[in-house]
């Protein structure tokens, strides 16, 4: 890189420009979300897209020169999986499953109510609800 004392190294220049592009992209994003004039929105949109491309170019240039090593995620070795990979879909967190259980519970309660006092509910309009 061989920069003199009062000069930025090539790597520091690219890093500075990359940070600037990140800031610009966020600025355009906020601006286009808050604008109403369609010409202004289109321009902000295109400019933000350009900033993405510029940032990509800068990042690739740094990466090619070994100046920006984004760490890759650790791959699991053999059978032993890292904690990150061991997560599986858990039905208790799924909204649809929760809703189904909720429905079942309602249904069970209604069924038990029906069996305990069938006559009272027979032919009643309150039975034509959900489920």
């Amino acid at each position: 890189m061989g920069a003199s004392k009062n000069q930025l190294s090539d790597r520091d220049m690219l890093l500075d420009l990359l940070m600037t592009e990140k800031y610009m992209s966020q600025m355009y994003n906020t601006a286009l979300m808050e604008a109403t004039n369609s010409d202004v929105i289109d321009s902000f949109d295109e400019m933000q897209h350009d900033e993405h491309e510029n940032a990509r170019l800068l990042y690739n240039s740094m990466h090619d020169r070994g100046w920006y090593n984004a760490k890759q995620i650790e791959k699991p070795v053999g059978q032993q999986q890292s904690a990150l990979y061991s997560y599986q879909a858990n039905s208790s967190y799924a909204v649809t499953s929760g809703a189904k259980n909720f429905g079942n519970r309602l249904g069970n309660r209604r069924n038990s109510a029906m069996s305990s006092s069938t006559r009272r509910y027979e032919g009643s309009s309150t039975n034509t609800g959900l489920q």
Partner: protein, 66 residues
Amino acid sequence: MVYGDLTNKEISYLQDALEMENLCLTKYSVYADQCQDDELKDILFNISKNKRQHANELKQLMRHQH
């Protein structure tokens, strides 16, 4: 300056963006000049042209609203 049907927010974002694009244009030009690596020089110079386009477009947007 008359900005016509632009909102206050739009005008202020256009002004901010123009200022930032001009700063960027200067940075890219200076860095392209100081850079040791010729390939990087080309990349930075090309992006500086993109910055000039942005600055001009922003000026147009502010000028054409009456």
